[in-house]
Symmetry: C2
Subunit: 343 residues, 2 copies
DNA sequence: CAAGGCCATTAAAACGTTTTTGGCCTCGCA
DNA sequence: TGCGAGGCCAAAAACGTTTTAATGGCCTTG
């Protein structure tokens, strides 16, 4: 008999009665075990097990003023990048005893607002968010409630704010530099909307690399801007490039989904990768290594991003006085595979 | 001035005072708008907006006895299959005003238990779970708390339980049948652990198809069982098959991740797909269509699975008396692409 | 004109914890 | 033996909402 009776939920009071102590003592066993005598403690713990007591999180939140949940708002849970981040968040949160409420905005501002509202209602202890645009106002209404916010995959512009990001300029420079190292002189950058910071930064990096190679970015770096960042858009980009004639020597895609679609389009058009055209993606998602011509990419520490962001957030929540805000910037890493194999 | 003053959180009492009504009336405006006079209602709503009031979810949960969150426990959030399901759950829950707490077990039973505990603490209104094994006992401790459970991608064995699943036997039969239709006579089934129900059911289906074609399953259907179900395992399976000589005419993989890895392994070994060997996967994840040789697959209504499961769950929670338990079984669908193009 | 019924609202209790305050008991020391 | 200190625990208030029972006013009806 290790579970309580069916259907009913057992409260701290019943545990207290059964153990012959007061509810306050049971609460202490739960939250400040060191403050209660060893013998009493073990007796209470025994009863807790016997009755199958589990704390009522809402009552706890109500009285304590804060919950043990954090909110995670991402732009596209279907993108393996965010999935990996979410896995990191979930693991770290779980280790620290927190639950994660997931909000997926799908890039829709209305959905994002609705999610923020839910987070506010749930009185999440803190919020992890990859903002879908640069508007800081929406976050203020959360912050004004006293909820800490950590930006994920987005550098904070203000010092009173933690953030965890990866240097996209370096990444863009590395990717383009790698293509140039392979002998390419005419590059294309296939990207999603340039209103997205990541896309824009990677473009800047690529331009830097082109300039550093003594070329004129305006001539040597064509830009193909697609409305979406998935495989379908990548394939359309390939068709566009092929139809336009005068293919570049090498192509840099703003993410791997685009690159995989592009790869397929190129192969279907009878082109060889990397012989006719080299190709590099971004994110190094699992599928990059598994595609027919394995895809070179720029690896980001996604899982780690999620873990660290969670750690920062909970440190800020639990130790507000000693907490030092940090804007962490990781460096991405080149992963060279077949799609950019140099001749 | 549409937001309340910074730092402090405004309660229902302050709204009541400001609007010149009692807290109970404000609560009624929130929960039973029809019970309050139109004029009073609009006045209260006005004040709510002005003060930026948002309901304290925990207080509400505590008093009302149930929350507006549901738990979602999946086996591997990194698998696009589950990601799609999660997206469906999240969308439907959000539409119905519920938040989703995500739990990822990574196939680890301990993590699953920990997640269930968190769900219990949070007093989730209901639970969606893809059980990682057949043990029903773990769920009983949740159900005994009065929390409704809907099984996802797993048929319920009991009539007092909702479930949403896809017929894996039909799927296996369809996949193998398609390969046989293409002229194959020697098949291989590359699968994850056969302790996983889905893997086993798909195998049964494949055996049925082979038998229906007048062949002996024991001879015509080789089975390659891998410990994992990702691309890496698929590639190793390819190496295994190639090294073993005597390749099959066609290969059926228990999921697309395996198939994509296998595809790469075959191509690297200089084999042509589908000319030398045909290949079909399972799940029809996005990447299946984007691989160099586009992958035939068995499509499951994943997103819909998530939506319907959520709908069933919340109907059960909100209308316990009128709710009729349902065990829904969808039929999967063949998606033929290049990897099984018949000569 | 009085009685009864209906409607909108209020007052107050309750949900299950946490936390503060204070009291008892024991132990050590003078 | 007396006193102070400190450890352990009990009692009670408080968190913000929901909900039930009660109240008051107004309208209808006899």
């Amino acid at each position: 008999m290790t579970t309580g009776s069916a259907g009913s939920t057992v409260s701290i009071k019943e545990v207290a009665a059964q153990a012959g102590v007061s509810p306050g003592t049971v609460s202490n066993v739960l939250n400040r075990p060191h403050k209660v005598a060893a013998e009493t403690r073990s007796r209470v713990e025994q009863v807790i097990r016997e009755l199958g007591f589990v704390r009522h999180g809402s009552a706890s939140t109500l009285r304590a003023g804060h919950s043990r949940t954090i909110g995670l708002s991402v732009i596209d849970i279907g993108n393996p990048f965010f999935t990996d981040v979410a896995a990191g968040v979930e693991d770290m949160a779980s280790e620290l005893g927190y639950a994660v409420i997931l909000g997926n905005s799908s890039g829709d501002r209305l959905k994002e607002e609705r999610n923020l509202r839910v987070f506010a209602e749930q009185r999440v202890r803190g919020l992890l968010i990859t903002p879908s645009d640069e508007d800081p106002g929406r976050l203020d209404v959360i912050r004004h409630r006293g909820i800490s916010v950590v930006l994920v995959d987005h550098p904070a512009h203000r010092p009173d704010q933690c953030s965890v990001a990866v240097n996209d300029i370096t990444g863009g420079r590395t990717a383009a530099g790698h293509l140039l190292d392979g002998g390419a002189t005419r590059l294309s950058y296939v990207t999603g909307p340039l209103t997205i910071r990541q896309c824009l930064d990677r473009k800047s990096g690529a331009e830097q690399a082109v300039a550093a190679a003594g070329l004129d970015p305006a001539r040597a770096l064509g830009v193909v801007e697609m409305p979406a960042m998935n495989a379908k858009a990548g394939q359309r980009a390939a068709e566009k490039l092929v139809a336009g004639g005068r293919l570049p020597d090498a192509i840099f895609c703003a993410n791997d989904l685009l690159a995989l679609g592009l790869l397929r389009g190129l192969l279907q058009a009878g082109l060889r990768v990397p012989d006719d055209v080299a190709l590099i993606g971004y994110d190094d998602i699992d599928f990059a290594a598994a595609s027919a011509v394995s895809l070179s990419s720029i690896r980001q520490p996604t899982y780690k991003l999620g873990r660290i962001a969670t750690e920062l957030l909970l440190d800020e929540c639990e130790n507000p006085e000693s907490h030092a805000h940090q804007q962490i910037m990781f460096q991405p890493e080149l992963v060279a595979r077949e799609s950019t194999r140099h001749p």
